[in-house]
Symmetry: D2
Subunit: 460 residues, 4 copies
């Protein structure tokens, strides 16, 4: 809840106000950046910079990126349908919805990942027909949808949720090619919040063990025959456009990980350094080496995200600024690996007490407290409580769903990035380059104008 609130506070706090606001040409005034449609590469750069700063404030996922990326995705996909096919209805509906959201600064979840049933089957082939969200009834005033979306970030706290298709579809899957927005309190919507590591400790309250800083919600969104009025339907059985949804959304979201996860990395590096100082080892060469390695890995993730932003591309005639898909995938693929390495190094520096530190209750126990203060203290100028607090913070960031599991699976699991990288990287072009150098006669010279890697065209 606190994490979520930070996305609103950021627009008013001195250090983030500049990044957290942006001018919306749609309503002609400043909006919270979390509901902004990117107007150029600078906006995409501002996104990753803002996310890094927000991670510093909350120490976990702040849960509004998915909805934000969903808005930008809808803007492009509905805009493209208008441009390519002349069908402007979706686009107009979306613009109305966008203004509604921007004016109220609504918090949105984005829901893409279906529960999927048997992973190797298409939606229409599933034994469970509801394994993917689909239309079960068409009415004059709207549609009725059924299914469930998994791993939905922020699902317990947002105002509305934007639902999108999760994969490329064929004609047979048409009823599954559906996108819409609904308030969370719509009849038929059921939310099952998932467990997070250490979640039960929160009930203990307490300033230290109650995890007063870091918690986010992710969960299952069940749509149990939910009615959606036409003005909130942004894709309806247009199965040809489903793959675009996925590609555009997922690359937006992959880019964003550069910001939030490097921000969490800063928290982890900072806690590790703070602990090293309290143990008196901050200047030891091997500790310095580890801190430097952590910073290196952290900045490597971040720099890829900056490249994905600066090398943005414009997908609509009048905007539709999207990330560079190759570097967005590189970003996320680095994020899917490096946090485990950073956590390992943090644990190394923090010492074994990270796994055996006493509870806050024991620490507050008047009989034990003097002994714990005496024996948990390292360098005398730092009270033992500081060490305990930093250990608990490090435990709950370096071993959190937000930092580890989300880094692997958010915005698509690692294999999804590998498939993207494989598709974008032009092996034929690389072979032509090598063939020319090796003096192969038969090989036609590579097209002199081709890029070293031909970017995936969203327009395909």
């Amino acid at each position: 809840m606190k994490a979520f609130k930070a996305t609103f506070d950021a627009a008013f706090e001195e250090d983030t106000r500049g990044l957290a606001r942006a001018y919306s040409p749609f309503i002609g005034e400043e909006v919270n950046r979390f509901v902004h449609i990117h107007q150029g590469p600078e906006d995409l750069v501002a996104k990753v910079k803002l996310l890094r700063k927000l991670s510093h404030k909350v120490g976990t996922c702040f849960q509004r990126c998915v909805g934000w990326d969903a808005l930008n995705t809808l803007y492009i996909v509905t805009g493209k349908i208008a441009e390519r096919e002349g069908r402007k209805e979706y686009f107009n509906r979306f613009l109305e919805y966008l203004k509604y959201v921007q004016r109220r600064d609504l918090a949105l979840a984005g829901a893409m990942t279906d529960v999927k049933g048997v992973r190797t089957l298409r939606p229409s082939e599933q034994p469970n027909r509801d394994a993917y969200v689909h239309v079960v009834e068409e009415r004059a005033d709207g549609i009725v949808v059924r299914g469930a979306k998994a791993n939905i970030t922020g699902v317990a706290v947002v105002d509305e949720v934007v639902v999108m298709p999760t994969r490329a579809m064929t004609e047979k899957d048409a009823e599954y090619a559906v996108s819409f927005a609904i308030p969370l309190d719509t009849p038929g919507v059921k939310v099952v919040v998932g467990r997070q590591l250490n979640d039960a400790r929160r009930l203990e309250g307490g300033e230290i063990d109650g995890l007063p800083y870091a918690f986010n919600h992710e969960g299952l969104l069940i749509l149990d025959d939910v009615f959606v009025p036409w003005e909130r339907v942004f894709l309806y059985k247009d199965w040809r456009w489903a793959s675009q949804f996925v590609e555009i959304f997922s690359n937006y979201h992959r880019q964003g990980y550069a910001g939030c996860k490097s921000g969490l990395g800063d928290v982890i590096i900072g806690a590790s350094y703070g602990l090293a100082r309290r143990l008196g080892i901050a200047d030891k060469p091997h500790v310095q080496e580890k801190l430097t390695e952590m910073a290196f890995l952290n900045e490597a993730m971040y720099s890829a995200g900056l490249a994905a932003s600066w090398e943005a591309r414009k997908l609509l005639r009048d905007g539709g600024w999207w990330v560079n898909p190759m570097y967005a995938n590189i970003t996320k693929h680095l994020v899917a690996r490096f946090p485990y390495e950073i956590s390992r190094l943090a644990h190394d520096i923090a010492g074994g007490l990270l796994g055996t530190a006493p509870s806050e209750a024991d620490f507050r126990n008047p009989e034990l407290r003097p002994l714990l203060e005496k024996y948990l203290q390292g360098v005398p100028e730092f009270p033992a409580e500081e060490r305990l607090r930093l250990l608990r913070l490090l435990e709950n960031t370096s071993l959190s769903v937000a930092y580890l599991i989300e880094s692997v699976h958010g915005a698509g699991s690692p294999q999804a990035q590998r498939i993207s990288i494989q598709r974008i990287y032009d092996l034929q072009r690389a072979e032509a380059i090598a063939s020319r150098l090796a003096g192969l006669k038969a090989e036609a010279p590579a097209d002199a104008k081709a890029e070293p890697h031909r970017p995936a065209e969203a327009e395909r």
Copy 2:
């Protein structure tokens, strides 16, 4: 508790009985291997094989290795003092204690790691004089000790605890060079059990979320002026022998990690494979690649431990079988790295639901249950509950203190292994080898009989 109990059950269960028992020449009968003094390389090999199997039974640390390694360490150190210096008192006391322990199959904790205060200062230089356990009074019938030992595995469940010095000492540190054994209920002993990830969930009860399988205890042992009778004192101000304690104990313990952590690795690989089957992806090439990589990393740790065992050395005239220190360090250093990689791969296979799966309470809720059974099911022949159970098991093994933090810090943090490796590996010998090949005239030929790496002599 269950984990701990397994060490006793193993001696009676069909699949482990052979490994879990051994003949003790000290009392002339079979004993539980966890109180056995190794009689040859085969015993050391049996240790790692037993530990791997026990991990399969409990899914966490079973908490008796430290005490076992402490017994073997005391056997060698007191034995060496007797052999080298003719002082047989420690050795005789220890043998009496050993028989006492073997006859009763007592569970022992081993306590080595002091709280250490300022890490860069010796015990006698600390601002807090009690930062290392030390003798505060000598009496006719025994000694009084004060201090605290951290990260003590099994501290809440054992019968007795064996205390050992944690580092090399100088003459000024003599009062800190002390080793002894005490029952846990000795006056002045205070135990503060540390928190474990997800510990609070256990209070919820429940078959799934209550973590019915895996839990171990680690914590802080405070010795608040505790009296120890002379017959339980195994080292007293003999500061010259402190470094031997550390070296012998830590290498025993480093070897053992080959068994318990690869056993946990089997659990994690098995849970990942089980989940992959329930998602219908077990045969996908990238999933097969990941499972194979996990098996590779797991068996690499194990094979180093086997080498450390088979290449054992004899430190006493009539026994004192110790591990090969180089390979014991290699084992532990691999263990300090690979589990994070194995966990990452497990999370990759398991899918994002690992971080967002619903609670058992929600799953038991009669209204939600049919929906959850419907939407959490993958391949139809497996009920959703199996998936939930495997996810929860994977969460609580792959993200546990036992598998991650203990793998980094147990038996000494990674830097301790690096220092050992650096000391054992003979750089001068390697330079001589290279110099001869390069035709360097000046370089004296390397001693033709020297080993490629000269083993650390415990006798130093």
Copy 3:
């Protein structure tokens, strides 16, 4: 030589003309980009893009980057001395030299790395006074310098060489704080070209084994009492500015590695893919995984370089566009690791024949040729000679000084980047972020305006 020539040809070839030329405000006309002073972030981005493309044309280092980076460094350092201290002489001399170079499109080497003698001693402390290049005589018309510079890229083919100091200096080192430019045929200049892997094969001639594509020169530049006229002296005993030289130059050069090494990576990936096709294994899942991993590593290096370029900073009032030093260091540190991994994967795909393929002479032998054509052929549509050519290309790129050793040591060895990363990354700021989250009372809140990482100020 061919590699070097490519830098001139690029300005005329269709696919690189756009990137390879730039408008110079100093002479008011288009120049070869290799002598251009960067006028904004776009120029820095163009640099890495050009370098990647040139690597495709030559398959090795093209040897003009160092001189180019030296020009831009001199522009900033002499410009700063003018701005800060009002001493405009160096700047004016440099501008004259720049115009001279731009008008003639001169090829420059940059010489920074001294031979250094005992690495742990400063220049003035060395037993060999000439271990660093220094002034041995001051004359009315110029100075006389002595010493040697090591690892000088392109030293055998350039027109002139720009000499720069290699480290921070103290007042005692003043005579070593010297920068100047000289034609390579100046009296007293001696060049000793170093060996490259497989260099002797070139003498065999031959289209395949004679390495007709890839060769670069690196070597030792000895300055045996060389006279330099004042108009070519750009720093003279101004020891306080020596560290700036190093920092500004090395970060320019670190950024550049994103381009040239990812370009070589494309060649290696292309050769691997070409070989996989000839073996009939290009579609095997494990081969696809390896190719994707190579592309991922390659693009990760490149994306960091793009970030270093786009996040450029302006160091002079009217220009002096420099790279972002954090991301430049990240770039180079990735480059110091990933090529070994890429080479390993390439070797894996290529098969063992990479190390055992017959010589061109054997292949041309009329008796052997039919047998070799028969037995070295994989998939029938590709002649065996193509496979042999690709193997030889892969050998001489994936196991080359340019791809491996230069990637480790160019622009400073890995430890130099680590020191930079450690200095730039703000650990105090990170600790403050963590402390605030952990609720530490004592910790002053971090300066709200500070950047998550405070960039190294060249102005220090």
Copy 4:
């Protein structure tokens, strides 16, 4: 040649005599271990220890292991055919051949890898019928064979070559299921020696650049209708036994890599340390870290090989001692990765001069020599020539076919090990272990007697 000779010298040199000789029960006397049939785990351990020491003497591959492993493979395979099928002819022939080889201490090459044509096709499916070695004619006195074997180590120097099938076969492939031994000078045998990195330098002669230490031969063996008498035929169209050949041989050979490659690692670590001392940086923490990392990686490979040896298994009633296949595969898979990492670290320590050091000719040039001696010297007590010699040694070991490409592809490429690991590691058993812990009802309890990993049965 020198490398090869070392295998004979070892039997007489003081430091290796013990390891290099063994008692052969077949001829009742001591033999060179390189023609010995292993009589127990100790012999397998002695193998890896001997290979490590021999690497120290030669700095490259010594080329007799393949033939040695081929002998032990033939012993088991022909022995099994005798035991299982009662056909003793192959076994008797082999024993005669073995005695012949042992009495003469013959040097053997082993030839397994066929040229293979299209990799995805079986021998009988190839467009080129000769892509695998096969029988083309059966005569009264023997057979005629045709085909070619690639990557044959030592092919230019051995006395005889033992040919074995390279893959599992079906009945249609029967003519390809053939094993035999022939002297290298048999009519129709053609050898094409492959190129090695820097091979052409050898022609320069010279003590430094002429690579007086390290060179090995690998190449292509062409069998152009070669006659083999029946007494040298050890398998003839018995296609069912082909897969055993591969599995038994390759695991023997995988185990051996623990010795030879860790021995090369010692040379590389020693050269790096020697260079660090000459630069005055041997005590710098980051250099110590790198040397320790190299030692760690090197000993990890070695320890896996020891485990593969100690955990040997007996495949025949009266012997046939084979390695543990899981650990043999772990060994080789570590070897397929770590040498690239060790080389990278070596290059890091050695400095950029590794890639730019002058030629011996320049160093011998009387005019240049004083300058080179002056400028290449680091720490004064070491002459510059020592540094040059160590650099050249490091170049020719750390960037050699023997250390890199052979480490990837020798004894089967990495994918072959992965397939073996996947087959040996029992995923079903691991799932059963996890299922029991997770409380899955449906899952049958794992067979209590099953091994944690069920070893591959060669007997299948």
